[in-house]
Amino acid sequence: MAELLQFVFSGLTVGAIYALVALGFTLIYKASDIINFAQGEFVMLGGMTTVFVAQAGVPLPLAAGIAIIATTAIGLALHRFAIEPARGATPVALIMITIGASIFLRGTAQIIFDRRFHSLPPLLGADPIQFGGAAILPQSLIVLASGAVIVVALWLFIERTIFGKAVIATAANRLAARLVGVDIRRIVAFSFAVSAAIGAIAGVLITPIALTSYDAGTLLALKGFAAAMLGGIGSALGAVVGGILIGMFEALAAGYLSSNYKDAVAFLIILVVLVAIPQGLFGRAKIERV
């Protein structure tokens, strides 16, 4: 029993990380149909900038704030200088641009920062919480709670503000949205800024557990993307559920089957789920009206 509980705790720890990364994909996708493959780099930038600003002597909370603001600015710049000039292009072309941006950000980070691994001190100490013979770090619970807060905040924003409604309108029909006076460019720019900020927050929170380095973004983005797809891309709740499910699959596979095949098992389950429910667990199927 303690064994199962430990596997579940491990699944929650890893899953919370995937969930936080996956959340970053949702808003940009909602506003523009773009899957932003530079999302992992936002996470990396959040962590790495905090580490280096803190090393320069800035108190940690302030360093984290600076990192989040800097990453948001980079998100806006990515939109302004890479996505906006290509606004007529198809989503596929725009997705390729984000892949290019991800490679660029990784290369630049390697030069500006360094190639070493870095860690940050956890918010609530490094002593694990013991429960039923299993152990979990307080930081994992913080990551999990932050995921929940971001989901609620995103939901309130989308459902309860006029700006949020404009995002939905843009997602539904760009032309119609423009006709009723929605400034699409601003909406998309805004979605990049918020996604970058979510990414940076994720980076700050997961670095105490997962460590970070200039190339940490690639695999995080891959797992986060898988989580977003499983949950239904564009759905914030789906992103969190998808992330935690993948974390659980991996932990249980590593615990009960074989640690050699845990990634394969997790991706196999994702494939099966997506074959059965192509729009993902919480995604809305697109209805084409004739």
Partner: protein
């Protein structure tokens, strides 16, 4: 006007060509090198290149070797074995080198071996894998210790503590996999039983399921973790998180201050094998390697402003073995130099004391590694290892 300008340019190129030809003629002994200065293995190749440059300058400032100056020709393969082979061919056919010190990665080295074997030019590799010198090839040598030796060193320490039933948890990256294979191969001979084996991905952020299985396995007395990068730090943290009290052994892959920083207080009590160079200042004064290790460490830090790594030390050893062989041969003749490299005996380098032979083209024994234990956030040497 246009023709005139062209003539001027052509003349300038001609003069430059003659100048460089003249320059090359004065540098008599050409030593080639292909290193991964950029790319994923740059943290290995960069200190190697800097080391070669620092010491070639130093040797030339003292009058060179046998009265001749050394000339170093370095190419960057960016971690790509195809590039390495192309550059190796260029070193042989165009640059006409007399010896080669280089090959940062095992992949690059294996790709270059046929070129130097065919050209009959001595090749001292700086890469880790045992396949480079087993089977023995007449023109190929290497300076770094192997994964196999690290396993043997750990197992010897386990044996001396009577911890003969162990668990193995390794990364699935190239380093972790290769060392895992070597450990499994040498375990029976060393009297070690591996009761359970687990693995983790190089980027995984939680290894508690694997460690839970290890904890629940009856009879396990110690845990060994061959790995590189962030994985071992997370394993160490999770290990303490789960409250496992068995002795934990890490590999030489994490023998750097960075590991202690990343693993934090969890690293306390962890043991690992490491080259003497890493603890140069801590070596006892009667240690034969102390002067070499301290000297190299200081020189490198002064000239580059960077911390010493064992990789630069491998390049130092390779260059010095070659230079001493040329001095003994009293010439730069490739065949004579090769024979003298093979006769290297009692060479004290940063990586250990080298005794080569026709059957051993590395010449290191287990004394090249020191067993360290992490205490109070720093390395301490375990006496008698």
């Amino acid at each position: 006007m246009k023709t005139l300008r062209r003539v001027t340019v052509a003349a300038a190129i001609g003069v430059l060509g003659m100048l460089s030809a003249g320059h090359q003629a004065s540098a008599q002994i050409k030593i080639g090198s292909v290193l991964s200065v950029s790319g994923p293995a740059s943290f290995l190749g960069d200190p190697e290149k800097k080391t070669l440059e620092i010491y070639i300058d130093e040797i030339n400032a003292k009058g060179g070797v046998n009265g001749q100056k050394l000339q170093l020709i370095v190419y960057d393969d960016a971690g790509n074995a195809d590039n390495a082979r192309t550059f190796a061919t260029r070193l042989v056919e165009e640059d006409k080198i007399v010896a080669m010190v280089g090959g940062t990665t095992t992949g690059s080295t294996l790709a270059m071996i046929p070129v130097f074997e065919d050209a009959k030019i001595p090749f001292i590799s700086l890469a880790g894998a045992i396949q480079i010198i087993q089977p023995v090839r007449s023109w190929v040598f290497k300076t770094p210790h192997t994964d196999k030796m690290a396993c043997e060193k750990i197992f010897a320490d386990l044996k001396s503590r009577n911890l003969t039933t162990i668990a193995l948890i390794s990364g699935t990256d190239a380093f972790g996999k290769s060392m895992r294979d070597q450990c499994i191969a040498v375990a029976p001979g060393a009297g070690i039983t591996i009761a359970i084996e687990e693995s983790y991905g190089p980027r995984d952020s939680d290894m508690t399921p694997q460690l839970t299985n290890i904890r629940n396995k009856a009879g396990v007395l110690a845990v060994v973790n061959p790995g590189f990068g962030q994985g071992p730090a997370i394993v160490t943290r999770n290990y303490r998180q789960l409250g496992i009290t068995l002795p934990l052994y890490q590999s030489h892959g994490v023998a750097s201050k960075q590991f202690i920083e990343l693993a934090g207080p969890a690293a306390e009590g962890v043991r690992l094998p490491a080259a003497a160079l890493l603890i140069a200042d801590k070596l006892p004064d009667n240690d034969p390697q102390k002067p070499v290790a301290v000297n190299y460490s200081r020189t490198y830090q002064q000239k580059t402003g960077q911390a010493t790594s064992t990789f630069g030390g491998h390049a130092y050893d390779g260059l010095m073995i070659l230079v001493q062989a040329m001095q003994r041969a009293k010439s730069a003749d490739t065949a004579k130099v090769r024979d003298e490299i093979e006769r290297t005996k009692g060479f004290v380098g940063t990586g250990g004391i080298v005794n080569m032979s026709p059957t051993d083209h590395m010449g290191l024994d287990l004394s090249a590694f020191r067993m360290l234990e992490i205490k109070g956030g720093d390395w301490t040497m375990i006496p008698g290892t």
